[in-house]
């Protein structure tokens, strides 16, 4: 009797252990795969099979490091140039897009070559590709100058046109930008042109991904997985409007198409000429005639995905500046 009792107790204990084991396994499985998915980081491995191969690799690494420096400098140079290139670039967007695609393709190829530490043969190819990349950057900066020249020409032309319209009508009419109605209802023009008749001129757009290091330093990164925060800045000049306090709206679109919001208290919706849109944050400031103001904002998210981040700046429901930032 006692034996059967103790066997029963033993059996129940075993069942309990088995149950807890199954529950733990299920939980562990879920957690492991969830974490794995979230924290998928590129892992660089070192093969230390022989001393000779290590020595060869050290030389290759030194070459790779110098190449990486050249590459980083080239990418950085282009990034700063892109900020202003994208601004007012809508009219020349097609060819520019093509060139940029070539550039990004080339950049990705170089990144993958430089990442592959085991393969030293491709370093020559990497050097060749970096030279090509530098050439492309030069081409793009030349293109940037073209865009700026074109922009100045259009701006001058439109200024003259709007003066011609104003003269026969009312002399004391306020600029369209300060009317309560959306500009499109007053002067139906295409977006890329309308922004130049706005009283405000935007320039030097910049969107940077930042990483906070262990010693509380903030440095720029180009990797989505490393990003802790996005910061943006731009210069807004009150070209011919009166002294006023104005409001600009910032929209940062993530690669999945969703708008990156600063917080529930700081983000919301607004009516643009394209319809109702969600905005990331708003900025209000005073600006006097002829004054140029440098404005900054920052956005944080739990997770950043790879791809293009589009920053748009709106005023009075119209887009006045745009920039694309790639995080790899």
């Amino acid at each position: 009797m006692r034996d059967s009792k103790s066997s029963l107790l033993l059996l129940i204990s075993l069942i309990l252990f088995l149950m807890s084991f199954i529950i733990l396994c299920t939980w562990g499985y879920n957690t492991y795969y969830k974490k794995k998915e979230e924290n998928r980081k590129p892992v660089l491995t070192l093969n230390d099979s022989t001393i000779i191969s290590n020595a060869t690799k050290a030389i290759a690494t030194a070459t790779r490091d110098s190449l990486q420096k050249v590459y980083a400098a080239t990418v950085k140079e282009l990034d700063s140039k892109l900020d202003s290139t994208w601004d007012y670039a809508d009219s020349l967007k097609g060819p520019l897009d093509e060139k940029l695609n070539d550039f990004f393709k080339l950049r990705n190829e170089i990144t993958s070559i430089l990442k592959d530490k085991n393969n030293t043969d491709n370093l020559g190819i990497a050097r060749q590709k970096i030279t090509e990349l530098q050439k492309r950057v030069e081409e793009l900066s030349g293109r940037n100058k073209d865009v700026e020249l074109e922009n100045n020409r259009l701006y001058a032309m439109l200024k003259q046109l709007s003066n011609n319209i104003k003269e026969p009508e009312q002399q004391n009419v306020r600029p369209v930008v300060f009317d309560n109605k959306p500009e499109s209802t007053i002067l139906p023009v295409k977006n890329n042109i309308s922004k130049t008749i706005n009283a405000y001129i935007i320039s030097d757009l910049k969107l940077s991904a930042l990483i906070e290091t262990d010693n509380n330093k903030v440095i720029e990164t180009y990797q989505a997985i490393e990003t802790d925060m996005l910061t943006g800045s731009f210069t807004l000049k009150n070209d011919n409007g009166p002294n006023n306090n104005i409001e600009v709206i910032i929209v940062v679109i993530q690669p999945d198409g969703k708008v990156l919001q600063k917080s529930s208290w700081e983000s919301g919706t607004f009516t643009s000429v394209e319809g109702k849109k969600i905005y990331s944050c708003k900025m209000k400031f005073d600006v006097t005639k002829g004054e140029a103001k440098r404005l900054n904002f920052s956005l944080t998210s739990d997770k950043y995905v790879k791809g293009n981040y589009i920053m748009q700046v709106y005023h009075n429901g119209m887009i006045i500046g745009k920039l694309i930032k790639l995080l790899s």
Partner: protein
């Protein structure tokens, strides 16, 4: 010897199953923060008993960051103070408490039980305060926890806790929070830059009381046109006098940059005005937006149905099923008349802050109902830590 070993083995097995099931139950909840703890706040309110499972972020020491994991409620109408309702409230209270312990594996120390100010006020008004005492004693006896604390929160404490729970600390001292309830409106702000001083704001008008006052004026003509007309009269009459007086007395216009509204009507207006921001707990709005929405309820109520609202959404990244479901929930809670009454009252209060030169920023808070419970839980945890 073997017997002792078997006993230990059995006990160890039980502990393992218990431990892993806790882990499993809590892991099933969709947590938002990396470092957080789960608490339950059970509140006996005027309409019923409500349990909020709250995840409190332990990473953020400055702000109270919380995430609502689950919201369960049982409608019992406790303030009618009848024997069947008393029993129903007691059963609900015990049921939700047991659910927190058994289903979510929370320890009694992580479960907070409170009686809301609405119940207290109503009980005092009809001299039934003893019913609250009896409910608390019966609850303690039924769960076999004689030392359990069931606090009766007063209106000032509730308004202050709501502010602390809803408004982020960066906006704490320049935000006036107004909670529009069904029978009254309460709120306030911190005028002196500290959380000790709180300026209370109260109105005897709420969504339901405004709708009731309007209905009384309808007589034979029960049409929505007449309701709209009579509502205008109600809001322009004694309601207007009280609102103007209370806002002036509060001095909130001079002291606040942000005016935040919470309460059931606020949740419904926020959901219908900005369905695109369905996932956001707070929606910034302008006076003009709410005014247009008020006219839309009257003229084009059909456009506020789930199907019609979803049709207007062009953003492909938004989940239309969730939006449609939430809009339908709003339409179930508020019909056209109560939506008009509540929005009319909201507009009337907003109007007091809509200056010609100085514009205030208005916010509609959707999850206001759990704000004060969350702050209560947070405060209780802090007090427990200090006591230790």
């Amino acid at each position: 010897m073997f017997k002792v070993f078997e006993k230990h083995l059995f006990l160890l097995g039980c502990v393992c199953v218990f431990g892993t099931s806790i882990l499993f139950a809590q892991n099933n909840l969709k947590l938002k923060y990396n470092k957080s703890e789960i608490y339950a706040g059970i509140e006996v309110g005027s309409k019923g008993v409500k349990m909020s499972l709250i995840e409190i972020n332990r990473d953020n020491q400055k702000n109270l960051d919380f995430n609502i994991l689950k919201d369960s409620s049982v409608n019992t109408d406790f303030i009618s103070f009848t024997q069947p309702v008393f029993q129903a409230t007691l059963i609900s209270l015990k049921g939700l408490y047991n659910s927190a312990i058994n289903d979510y594996k929370l320890t009694p120390q992580k479960i907070f039980t409170v009686i809301s100010s609405g119940v207290k006020i109503q009980a005092e008004k009809v001299e039934k305060s003893i019913w609250i005492r009896n409910l608390i004693d019966s609850f303690k006896a039924s769960i076999n926890e004689p030392s359990r604390q069931v606090e009766i929160v007063d209106v000032l404490q509730e308004a202050k806790l709501s502010h602390l729970g809803i408004v982020p600390s960066s906006r704490r001292y320049n935000t006036f929070l107004i909670d529009i309830g069904s029978g009254n409106t309460k709120g306030g702000y911190f005028p002196n830059g500290n959380i000790s001083d709180f300026k209370l704001f109260q109105l005897s008008w709420g969504t339901k009381s405004t709708a009731n006052a309007t209905e009384k004026r309808l007589e034979e003509d029960k049409t929505i046109t007449n309701f709209h007309k009579q509502l205008y009269r109600v809001l322009s009459g004694s309601a207007n006098d009280e609102i103007t007086y209370a806002v002036n007395l509060s001095n909130a216009y001079n002291m606040s940059d942000n005016i935040a509204f919470s309460g059931g009507i606020t949740w419904s207006v926020a959901t219908l005005i900005n369905p695109e921001l369905i996932e956001n707990s707070v929606i910034p709005v302008t006076y003009d937006e709410v005014e247009k929405f008020y006219e839309r309820i009257f003229i084009n109520y059909h456009s506020l149905s789930g199907d019609e609202i979803v049709k207007t959404i062009t953003d492909q990244t938004l989940n239309k099923t969730i939006i449609s479901k939430e809009v339908k929930r709003v339409n179930q809670v508020f019909d056209q008349q109560s939506l008009l009454a509540g929005t009319g009252l909201l507009l009337k209060i907003m109007r007091q802050f809509e200056g010609i030169y100085e514009k205030k920023q208005f916010y509609l808070v959707k999850n206001g109902q759990v704000g004060w419970v969350s702050a209560y839980v947070d405060q209780s945890i802090s007090n427990q830590s200090v006591a230790k």
